[in-house]
Symmetry: C2
Subunit: 431 residues, 2 copies
Amino acid sequence: MAVVNAADKNPTVLRQLRYGNVERVLQVLRRQGPSSRADVATATGLSRTTLSGIVGQLLADGVVTEEPAGPPSGRGRPVHRLTLNPRSAQAIGIEVGRERITVAIANAAHEVTAFAGTHHAQRSGAREQAGAALELLRELAAREGIDLAGLGGVGIGTPGPGDTTGGPGDATGGPEDTTRGPADTTGATSPAAGVPRHRQTVADAVAEALDVPVLADNNTRLAALGEAIWGAARGAGDALHLTLSYGIGGGLVAGGLLFRGAQGAAGELGHISVDVDGPRCWCGGHGCLEQVAAVPALLRAAGRRSWGRFTQALAAGGETERAAVERAALAVGRALAAASSTANPRRIVLGGEVAELGPVFLGPVEDAFRRYTATRVQHGVELVPAALGERSGALGALALVFHESPLLAGYATAAAAAPEESAGEAATHAS
Amino acid sequence: MAVVNAADKNPTVLRQLRYGNVERVLQVLRRQGPSSRADVATATGLSRTTLSGIVGQLLADGVVTEEPAGPPSGRGRPVHRLTLNPRSAQAIGIEVGRERITVAIANAAHEVTAFAGTHHAQRSGAREQAGAALELLRELAAREGIDLAGLGGVGIGTPGPGDTTGGPGDATGGPEDTTRGPADTTGATSPAAGVPRHRQTVADAVAEALDVPVLADNNTRLAALGEAIWGAARGAGDALHLTLSYGIGGGLVAGGLLFRGAQGAAGELGHISVDVDGPRCWCGGHGCLEQVAAVPALLRAAGRRSWGRFTQALAAGGETERAAVERAALAVGRALAAASSTANPRRIVLGGEVAELGPVFLGPVEDAFRRYTATRVQHGVELVPAALGERSGALGALALVFHESPLLAGYATAAAAAPEESAGEAATHAS
């Protein structure tokens, strides 16, 4: 007889049960608003001892507050109510991108309470960039009166393996376009490598400064998550994201959660082969989408040196530019069709410079996508432009903390079907 | 400010918490073996009242038993211990396929305790087939001494939308090959339809007879789940499954769970377009893999009428057959490469008549797959033949119950990373 019982082999199950209890208490407070300890005990089924320990820790961390519900009635002690503390930061999202650093802060009620962005100094290293991000965060928290003591984690997005959004100075499409400008000073970003050194350095510096769990991932993939929770794929549950820039990167969101796959390469739609006779790609494949539809490929096809010139010529009716765009659009549409036959998303989000060409590109993408997709799939999927712009990476990093921080296990359920409200109204400061 | 708090809008959260408590109790019993109520209370943190209600229900359902742990020591009452009842069926899986009915039974410890299969009567309808499945189930339970009173659900797999494994009598590849022989008497199986009437009829009959939740899905997709939990993709977590038969169907397993996507079309790899100039497919797409690599396509390419003749000619060195097989293999390899760039599985399982050709087909599939896949992805993925044969559908249906029955919510975690043991040793009776 086969015993299929992973719990037997999994020493973390009881730990998960304990973290799960913390989440259950927070879930009741989010759901029911201010509640007495007795109400929370009833809703969760937890014992007085267990509940008392959890509430004690949450009060000590400043995540919840406890106050009398009103003047004492009669002889008994006043009833106290537990409330989520809206001024306590529970999660922070940071993107250290090629040119910009962005920071977002959220509280235990999953409200994005503040956002800020800044350009980082040219040629700065990973440590300097981490320092700049921490400074930006502390300024923002001070200005908004946000308490950082109860943090459950920090999410960080940086370029690197999995990411193929190359630098504007490199129009070759070769392997070197994964080392992209000042944000990436290590060169250790071949697709077979582990965590890039730049990302590790930033993560270590932030973890040390704030003394909380840090989760780091590729920034394009986090943009996919950001769009899924707060942007163009909000409420879609299952979504594909494609960033068409100097490289082509993407992400797959399943049930509102980032789906990485076995080697963390899920959603790498830029390396779907669209040409059986195509040349070898730096990734090791042949005839990859990136070789046809990324900015460098379009520039090559039209004999242009800069994206500005390319878009000007396209707007002026340039035939060569238009043909290159249509060829790229056919390839993108076919790759999205193959990806949709695999993952069957409800929404496909297109971002990056090439997508920003607008209808001249997106129209033929949609035509090709529908031609090469089963009717059943066609009817249920929308292709939409990205909505969050420069905010997507930091917001995705924030969502990553809620989904995956060991201190916040269990948030996944709540975030999986995000409500149709916008994060765009959070307090914002650009410097 | 954006409040991302799905719990506020989700009335089922408290119900899930309650079902979750039942699962937590079972998880402790599976993990720790026979346990006193005090031990269970400590491990779960549940209150005496909550625990008492749950244990009472589990005892009434026969899912657990409670016995003295030994002779009374000293003056006190003897300590009682709760134990999972190995003779109580918790889940049943049924496949009503084109030609066969198969049934599998598992207990609360996730052990597959019995399996049986039978051919169903030619030209029988859905009600007759449901009756035959129930009869097979009751005979099997009686013979093995299995109690059906504590059932948490029944899973059922049948052909139908999502399924494209056509019938051997139909070599056209047209839309009519989704109505396939006696198992499917409705014709209501176009890819745009909802639940096929045949599946609904079988599911209704079983639900009425056994009075438990019934979950039904496409049998090819369930085969993917069966292979992932108990077969060739066991322990892989993320897996793709491709069945190459008279049609081409598939399934995507993510984190050990079936992944369906927005319209339940995830894993439909037979409708990835492999030919930009290919003809329109019955699915609505163009140049689909199924038009090149399914049995009817191979027969057409070689001018053969039956699969037996085709394989004989191939074995005898037939050039036309070999060329058709290699063309199919290139297309399959490229489609699997595109699917892997999207979902990045750890294992890809190939089943069905075409895969059963063996190395003459699987060799060139692997070559093409590796040529068109990023090095990073290539290194971490295995292509393997299916392992469960006719058992895969019923075992997948069983896993579906553990993962998704509303009475068993929470099993997902335990089943997601199934241990490396085989279900093949379960008691088996073929009739």
